[in-house]
C-alpha cells in the first residue's frame, strides 16, 4: 500500500470538510475521487501533500507516518507530485526552467542532466518546441501538460491530480486526459479529483464518492456508476446525467 488515510478530520472555522475519512491506495492503482463541489476532494489532496494541516487522524505514505509533526514536510513533498486545477506554472520562468527547478534545487541533479531529462519529457508529451517559451504563450492544455511534466520529472511515488481539466476549454481536455491515460499504462499510482465522470469510468481502478466529509461509497467504476448502493450517490449521479456529463 502506498497511501493510507486513516480517520482524517479537517475543519475550516466551524465548517467540517473532512470527518474521519479513510482511504487506501495500492501501488499502480488509479483512484478517482468524485463528489459535489465542496465535498472535500481538493482538501483531501492538499492534506495528503501536507499543504493543509489535518485536525485529526493519520496519513501514511509508503509505510511511514507523514502527519507526524516531527517529519520534515519538504522531504515528504519530494516523494509526491501534485497538479492543480489552475496549472500554477511560474510565469517568470520558461517552460524548461519551470520543469528543472525542483530537480536541480531539491533533488540535487546537475543542470545538464535535468535539462536533458526535461527535454525528453517535453518531447514525449508533444511540447518539445515549447521548452524556451514562457507559460503565457501556451494554451491552457499545453500549460497543464507542462505542470504534469514538472511533477513527474521528480519520479514521485504518488501523483495527485486536482481537477486538472476543470479550467480547460472543452477541446483541450482530451490532450490532458490522454496524457493521464498514458501514465496509467506506465503504472503510475494516481489519485485524481475529477468532474469528468466518463474519464473516471475509463481510467480509474476504483471510484470513491465523497459526501459529508467521508468516502460514502467506493468500488470499481462499473459498480459505482452502474449500480450505486447509496441513495446519495444515486442522487449525485442522476444530477450529473441530467447535466449531460456522463
Amino acid at each position: 500500500m502506498i497511501l493510507s488515510v486513516q480517520g482524517v478530520r479537517k475543519v475550516f472555522g466551524s465548517q467540517v470538510v473532512l470527518s474521519s475519512l479513510d482511504l487506501d491506495v495500492d501501488e499502480h492503482q488509479v483512484v478517482a475521487l468524485i463528489g459535489a463541489s465542496g465535498s472535500g476532494k481538493s482538501t483531501l489532496l492538499r492534506c495528503v501533500n501536507l499543504l493543509e494541516e489535518i485536525d485529526d487522524g493519520m496519513i501514511w505514505l509508503d509505510g511511514s507516518h507523514i502527519t507526524d509533526p516531527r517529519v520534515n514536510p519538504d522531504k515528504v513533498r519530494q516523494r509526491i507530485g501534485i497538479v492543480f486545477q489552475s496549472y500554477n506554472l511560474f510565469p517568470h520562468m520558461t517552460v524548461l526552467e519551470n520543469v528543472i527547478l525542483a530537480p536541480v534545487r531539491v533533488h540535487g541533479r546537475s543542470s545538464k542532466e535535468a535539462t536533458d531529462a526535461a527535454r525528453e519529457w517535453l518531447t514525449r508529451v508533444g511540447l518539445g518546441d515549447k521548452a524556451d517559451a514562457y507559460p503565457d504563450r501556451l494554451s491552457g492544455g499545453q500549460q497543464q501538460r507542462v505542470a504534469i511534466v514538472r511533477a513527474l520529472i521528480n519520479s514521485p511515488r504518488l501523483l495527485l491530480l486536482d481537477e486538472v481539466t476543470s479550467a480547460l476549454d472543452p477541446e483541450l481536455v482530451g490532450e490532458v486526459l490522454s496524457m493521464i491515460r498514458d501514465l496509467k499504462g506506465e503504472g503510475m499510482t494516481m489519485v485524481l479529483a475529477t468532474h469528468e465522470m466518463g474519464f473516471a469510468r475509463q481510467v480509474a481502478d476504483r471510484v470513491c464518492f465523497l459526501d459529508g466529509g467521508k468516502v460514502l461509497e467506493q468500488g470499481p467504476p462499473e459498480q459505482v456508476f452502474g449500480d450505486p448502493r447509496e441513495p446519495r450517490t444515486r442522487q449525485f449521479l442522476s444530477r450529473i446525467i441530467e447535466a449531460g456529463r456522463l
Binding site: 492538499r46 519538504d74 507530485g81 511560474f90 517568470h92
Partner: protein
C-alpha cells in the same frame, strides 16, 4: 494585398484625423508658449529677476563648485540607494516570516518601518551626524558616512513596505506550487516569490530612488558640501541667485536618465500584465 474600399476609406479618414490633431497640438503649444514668454518678460520686475536668477557670468563662475558638489550627491546616491534597497528587502523578508518563533524579529521589523517612516529625515540626520560622534568612540566613521547611514535607514523603511507589498501580491497558489515540488520556504522565496515580486514593484522602487536623489543633499546640514550647499555658498559671495538655478538644472539632468528608466520599466511591466 487588396483592401476593400471601406478599409481604404477608414485608413484615409484616420490619417486626416491624425494630421488635424497634430496641427491643433502644435498651434496650442505655440499659443501657450508665447503667452508664458510675454507674461514673464512683460512683468514689471522681470529685468531684476533675470539679473539675479539668470546671470550667465555668475552661472559660469559657480558651475565648477556646484558640479563638484553634485559629484558628492552622485556618490552618496549610489551607495545609499544600494544600502537602502538591501536593508529594505531584508526588513520586508523579516516582516513576512510566519510562526511564533519569529515573533521578536517580526515585531522589530514592523517597529522599524513604523518608526523610520514616521521620523523626519532631518532629525535622523542630526542624531547620527551630530549626536553619535559625541560618543567619542574609537574608529568613528566620518560625518559623511554617518549621514549616508541616516539616509539608508530612513529610506529602507519606505522601501521595505514597497517590497512587502510586492511579496504579498504574489498569489498563494504560486507558493503552494513551489512548496509542493519540495522547495523549502527559503528556496520558494528566492526562486519563485521574490523574482515576481521585485518585477512588479520595480516602478515604485525606482520612484523612491528618484526621491532619494534629491534627499541625499541634506547631509550638507552636517557639513559636507553638496550641490545645493555649494550653490548657497556662491550665492552668499555674489548676492546673486543664479547658482541655485545652475544646481537645479544639474539635478534635473541627473534625474532624467533614472526617470526615463522608471517609465520604461513601468511600461514594460504594464505590457507584460496584459
Amino acid at each position: 494585398m487588396n483592401l476593400s474600399p471601406a478599409q481604404l476609406d477608414r485608413i484615409a479618414y484616420r490619417r486626416r484625423q491624425t494630421v488635424i490633431s497634430v496641427l491643433i497640438a502644435a498651434a496650442s503649444t505655440l499659443v501657450v508658449g508665447v503667452l508664458l514668454a510675454v507674461g514673464l518678460t512683460g512683468a514689471p520686475g522681470w529685468d531684476r529677476v533675470r539679473a539675479s536668477f539668470f546671470d550667465l557670468d555668475v552661472a559660469r563662475d559657480a558651475l565648477p563648485d556646484v558640479a563638484a558638489g553634485l559629484w558628492l550627491n552622485v556618490r552618496l546616491l549610489v551607495f545609499c540607494a544600494l544600502g537602502a534597497l538591501a536593508l529594505g528587502l531584508l526588513i520586508a523578508l523579516l516582516r513576512t516570516l510566519r510562526g511564533p518563533v519569529f515573533f521578536p524579529v517580526r515585531a522589530l521589523a514592523t517597529g522599524y518601518t513604523y518608526t523610520f517612516r514616521g521620523l523626519p529625515l532631518i532629525i535622523v540626520l542630526y542624531v547620527l551626524t551630530l549626536g553619535v560622534p559625541g560618543l567619542r568612540l574609537q574608529g568613528m566613521p566620518s560625518v559623511l558616512v554617518l549621514g549616508g547611514i541616516a539616509l539608508v535607514i530612513t529610506y529602507a523603511g519606505y522601501l521595505a513596505e514597497v517590497f512587502r507589498a510586492g511579496i504579498e501580491s504574489v498569489h498563494p497558489s504560486q507558493l503552494a506550487a513551489a512548496r509542493s515540488l519540495g522547495l523549502t520556504y527559503r528556496q520558494t522565496m528566492r526562486h519563485v516569490v521574490l523574482p515576481q515580486a521585485i518585477r512588479r514593484v520595480a516602478p515604485p522602487l525606482l520612484n523612491d530612488t528618484v526621491a532619494l536623489q534629491k534627499d541625499v543633499g541634506l547631509v550638507s546640514l552636517a557639513g559636507p558640501i553638496d550641490a545645493v550647499r555649494a550653490a548657497q555658498i556662491s550665492t552668499a559671495e555674489t548676492f546673486n541667485y543664479t547658482p541655485y538655478i545652475v544646481a537645479g538644472v544639474l539635478f534635473v539632468l541627473l534625474a532624467m536618465p533614472l526617470i526615463a528608466v522608471t517609465d520604461w520599466v513601468t511600461l514594460r511591466a504594464a505590457r507584460r500584465q496584459s
